[in-house]
């Protein structure tokens, strides 16, 4: 009886509910520990004229002030393109760009010094928007293309052609635990870094690079994060580097913790997109050609922008077959903090573009958008190849669409919504179904590797370490289940060690939803090797003492915490007993495992490849209720269906699905990053930036897992789950669009994302049939 497939509690469950779980800033202060902060650029674009640290250095308790001149290694780095400076040199390119690192005895001293650092900057006009970037021809990298078929022929074949622009906004990660790191200096310039990061290996590598150390001199440890969502994939590196600089210079422990306002203002988030499209379709709504230009606001440095753009492009089809497609991608360079990974990694932005197009086609033809979606959906045997050449195997999209329409009673509710909108003077309703097809694997081939270390101790307990970091998503719990099942032992016999670069080297970020896929597979690889050795040992042991059988490892069975020979099942050893016996027989009880995702690659020169091992799929039906006078929006009901293969832990996966959907609701409705003309983020705390709260969750919320035992390419037939359900929330946005369309098509066409209350009311107010206009009519 294994634990895979069971709802075992999260690895840190007891610690989380008792308050004993340790996050970075919960670690006790070490002797002589220093507090680290930084002076950040107050302007989005400018030339540094002078930096005067005199007053700051005289603040009592200040131990060190460091500029780029104090960096002994390299000041410049970046995960894809080395275009980021740890500390600004001649120019500043975004608000929040670190200029001076401050180290002091107390937080008060550090804050006091921060106020009196005198940096003179010649302010230049900032580039903040995509339009400005296009006008000034400022790009982070060369444009990218995916082309299939002949779009001109496709447009010629079309009965109708629509052109338009779609705008989606950014999103702050709003992990509740801010960016944080503590660094302990050791002998010979070695450093031990505790970082709240999704990518310990990158933190290690960049610290070594910046300080001029060898990578083997830096150990990065990550026990857990108080939320990551992509925000700690690359951008945890900067605070860790700043604290490391201080620890390296002073030989004292150094702690840095961003407060919420600084974190929101100074770090990047989800990429805003502005997409132009031209779509040709038949009178039945079947797309014959699509040409779309995706422009993303990457911010001041590339960070992961080109990869995010790539995923947006490979998701510009979502669930739909487009015979003739021309998808272009442009990464715009602006003066915003560099935008970075965020759950979905460009996927949501690519998908919402085509979902908006589906709505536009349906509006134009006066059809039910569900029927337009169904007509364009990828087929099973034909019409099943993506624009980049990957075949959609194990395609459950038509089945998922059918299923969600049935269980949500879509057709009847659609009629009820129409009737409601005809009669209600105060409210509007909208209902919409959208599917999701999300590709699993890093689109950069070499990142799709993982290693794991499995150690068995003499009492039969197991310690596992992998490159997966834990941010609440339950990767550690799932890996623990996988390991326990390999030895047929209780998961309580297995402990997951903190992620650390001295145990697992050259790891990839915990990202792309693939932490369990990659690291779980690597851990199982190690287990299989050890189990083989244990089986050989057990075969000898169990065939001795006149059992009358010859030793045969292939007859050895691990089950229910015991080990026995199939031919003599009465004679059982406990797992601890066979481990102890193996130890005394001098058998190696530790192993490294490795996994590299097979058969994936992508060529950006041709725009063709097989970037994904498989697709996680789903579909959702959302119904919204809108106050016509205030624009206030409620999601009254949501029905979600996800195909996540054979779930390793259905309880944890269900949490990922509901959590991702609600977080996606925030992106498409309430979360708006509003900036001043100078680029200052105005919505930089929960007072002005509205993430969903408990009252925003759908009043009726049905979440179901779709049976699929055919995903034989991934560990135990499971599928990745972290990001895909985020995209189901796009159905909330399309439902809003439909609700508005019931008043005015023209108003619905203007709707941007996020559909905040203000956005909704402004869209409707500009329409002749607005609520206010109809209210006047009612009065008259």
């Amino acid at each position: 009886m294994g634990s895979v497939g069971k709802d075992i509690a999260h690895d840190s469950a007891v610690g989380h509910v008792s308050g004993e779980s340790i996050y970075i800033d919960d670690m006790a202060f070490a002797k002589n520990e220093l507090i680290v902060d930084f002076y950040a650029s107050p302007v989005a674009n400018g030339k540094i004229v002078s930096i005067d640290l005199t007053r700051a250095s005289n603040v009592p308790g200040i131990v060190g002030l460091y500029t780029h001149k104090d960096i002994e290694g390299h000041n410049k780095f970046g995960p894809i393109i080395a275009d980021e400076y740890l500390l600004a040199e001649e120019k500043v390119e975004f608000i929040g760009q670190p200029i001076v690192v401050i180290a002091g005895e107390t937080r008060k001293a550090v804050l006091a010094a921060r106020k009196v650092i005198d940096v003179k900057i010649d302010v230049l006009e900032p580039t903040l928007t995509i339009d400005q970037s296009i006008a000034r021809k400022q790009y982070l990298a060369e444009p990218r293309f995916i082309k299939r078929g002949d779009v001109d022929a496709g447009f010629a074949e079309a009965d109708h052609i629509l052109e338009g622009r779609f705008i989606s906004g950014g999103q702050d990660h709003f992990y509740l635990e801010g960016q944080a790191a503590i660094v302990y200096p050791g002998e010979y310039d070695n450093l031990v870094v505790h970082s709240s990061t999704q990518h310990p290996s990158e933190v290690q590598e960049v610290i070594a690079h910046v300080l001029g150390l060898q990578q083997n001199q830096v150990v990065c440890i990550t026990k857990r994060m108080g939320g990551g969502f992509g925000g700690k994939e690359c951008q945890a590196t900067h605070p860790a580097c700043m604290a490391s600089l201080v620890a390296h210079k002073t030989k004292r422990p150094a702690r840095i913790v961003y407060n919420k306002d600084d974190d929101m203002s100074f770090t990047g988030g989800r990429h805003p997109f502005q997409n132009d499209y031209k779509v040709g379709f038949t009178k039945d709504g079947v797309i014959t050609a699509l040409k779309t230009d995706l422009y993303t606001n990457g911010g001041a440095a590339n960070d992961l922008s080109t990869a995010v753009l790539g995923r947006a492009m490979t998701h510009a089809d979502n669930a739909y077959f487009i015979a003739n497609a021309h998808i272009n991608g442009y990464a715009c360079k602006t003066n915003l903090p560099p935008n970075t990974a965020f759950r979905g990694f460009g996927g949501p932005q690519g998908v919402v573009n085509i979902e908006n197009i589906m709505e536009e086609i349906a509006l134009f033809l006066g059809k039910d958008p569900f029927d337009v979606r169904s007509a364009n959906c990828y087929g099973i045997e034909e019409r099943n190849t993506t624009p980049y050449g990957q075949i959609v195997y194990n395609n459950l999209l038509p089945a998922l669409l059918k299923k969600v329409a049935e269980t949500s009673d879509y057709k009847n509710r659609l009629e009820a919504v129409k009737k409601f909108n005809q009669t209600s003077k105060t409210h509007l309703k909208g209902i919409s179904i959208t599917p999701v097809k999300f590709g699993i694997s890093f689109t950069t081939k070499f990142l799709n590797q993982a290693n794991a270390m499995v150690l068995i101790y003499k009492d039969g307990t197991v310690l596992v370490s992998t490159g997966a970091t834990e941010m609440g998503q339950g990767a550690n719990t799932k890996i623990r289940q996988l390991v326990a099942d390999e030895f047929a032992i209780d998961p309580n016999m297995v402990i997951m060690a903190p992620t650390a670069t001295d145990k697992n080297n050259n790891t990839s970020a915990t990202a792309a939803s693939a932490a369990t896929d990659l690291n779980g597979s690597a851990a199982v690889d190690a287990c299989v090797k050890i189990r083989q050795r244990l089986a050989e040992c057990a075969a000898n042991y169990l065939s001795s003492d006149g059992a009358g059988i010859s030793p045969s490892p292939s007859h050895i069975v691990f089950a229910d915490g015991n080990v026995f020979d199939k031919r003599r099942p009465d004679k059982k050893l406990t797992f601890a007993e066979i481990v102890s016996a193996a130890y005394h027989e001098r058998i190696n009880l530790g192993e490294r495992g490795f996994y590299a995702t097979p058969g994936i690659d992508f060529n950006w020169k041709t725009g063709v490849g097989q970037p994904f091992l498989y697709y996680t799929q789903g579909a959702a039906c959302s119904e919204v209720l809108i106050d016509r006078f205030t624009g206030e929006l409620k999601v009254v009901r949501a029905d979600l269906w996800m195909d996540i293969g054979k779930s390793i832990n259905p309880g944890i996966d269900r949490g990922q699905i509901t959590g991702a959907y609600i977080q996606g609701m925030g992106w498409v409705t309430t979360e708006e990053l509003r900036r001043s003309e100078d680029g200052v983020l105005l919505s930089h705390s929960p007072t002005t930036y509205k993430i969903p709260n408990v009252q925003d969750m759908p009043r009726v919320f049905n979440v179901d897992l779709f049976d699929n035992d055919k995903n034989d390419v991934n560990i135990k037939g499971s599928k990745a789950v972290g990001e895909p359900p985020f995209l189901l929330a796009i159905s909330v946005w399309t439902a809003v669009k439909q609700a508005i369309a019931s008043v005015s098509k023209e108003a619905a066409q203007k709707l941007k994302l996020p559909a905040t209350n203000e956005e909704i009311i402004m869209c409707m107010a500009t329409s002749k049939k607005s609520a206010l206009a109809s209210a006047k009519q009612t009065k008259a």
């Binding site: 709802d7 509690a9 999260h10 469950a13 007891v14 610690g15 989380h16 509910v17 008792s18 308050g19 004993e20 779980s21 340790i22 996050y23 800033d25 919960d26 670690m27 006790a28 202060f29 070490a30 520990e33 507090i35 007053r55 005289n58 603040v59 009592p60 308790g61 005895e105 107390t106 001293a109 006091a112 106020k115 992990y175 509740l176 635990e177 857990r224 108080g226 939320g227 407060n259 919420k260 609440g472 309580n492 309880g651 944890i652 949490g655 990922q656 509901t658 959590g659 991702a660 609600i662 977080q663 929960p686 007072t687 993430i691 709260n693 408990v694 009252q695 969750m697 009043r699 919320f701």
Partner: protein, 210 residues
């Protein structure tokens, strides 16, 4: 501390957790800034406000505590930095996220929005004070049973709010619980499970009050 907990379909689970805190000597910056200021003639003053030290006595999780604090130290900072009770979390430090929720004389408050020195004689309960005699509080068990968390950072605040809710006026419906829990945000959005956990405890016959 070892807690006995039960969980659906998983039998008894006992997990020992050890406080990492013990590994490091706690030595929160004791530097006397005023004294340093006198030694630093170049410092013009005015940047660091003059400190007023205040002695405050209160009970935290049933234990009497006498601490000397800066008069402007929040209760949250006092708990975390002076008393080493790091279970209460600092999320926004503005009273908007609820991660720092504790109970003072049985009522829940945002500990980041109140000064430590205002609590002379008060009885304060933090997440560390909920478990009794090695047994988790029913609300803590319910949060485990229902996966009422993901990353865990907001969880202490959620649970303190949830326990306080039990002795407040709150309707029976899930929507009533949502209203009463609206001051605690969760970015992982474990909301459905949090509400389910709270409802289980409210419907249960166990004495779930403090």
């Amino acid at each position: 501390m070892t807690y006995k907990i039960s969980r659906r379909r998983f039998g008894q689970l006992a997990i020992a957790t050890s406080a990492l805190a013990a590994l490091y000597e706690y030595n929160f910056a004791k530097s006397n800034i005023q004294a340093l200021a006198k030694q630093s003639p170049a410092w013009q003053g005015g940047n660091i406000p003059k400190l007023t030290k205040v002695n405050v006595n209160f009970q935290v999780n049933g234990t009497k505590q006498a601490v000397e604090v800066d008069s402007r130290m929040s209760l949250l900072d006092c708990l975390r930095e002076k008393l080493k009770l790091t279970g209460s979390k600092k999320g926004c430090d503005h009273g908007q996220c609820g991660a720092c929720t504790v109970m003072v004389n049985g009522r829940r408050i945002n500990s980041c929005l109140t000064f430590a020195c205002m609590h002379e004689g008060d009885e304060i309960t933090t997440i560390e004070g909920l478990a009794k005699d090695g047994n988790l509080h029913p609300m803590q068990e319910a949060f485990i049973a229902h996966d009422g968390f993901q990353c865990g950072y907001c969880t202490p605040g959620q649970i303190m709010s949830a326990v306080a809710l039990l002795s407040e006026t709150c309707g029976k419906q899930d929507s009533d619980v949502a209203e009463c829990m609206s001051g605690n945000i969760c970015r992982c959005a474990a909301y459905p499970n949090i509400v389910a956990a709270i409802q289980e405890v409210r419907k249960g016959k166990v004495n779930a009050s403090l």
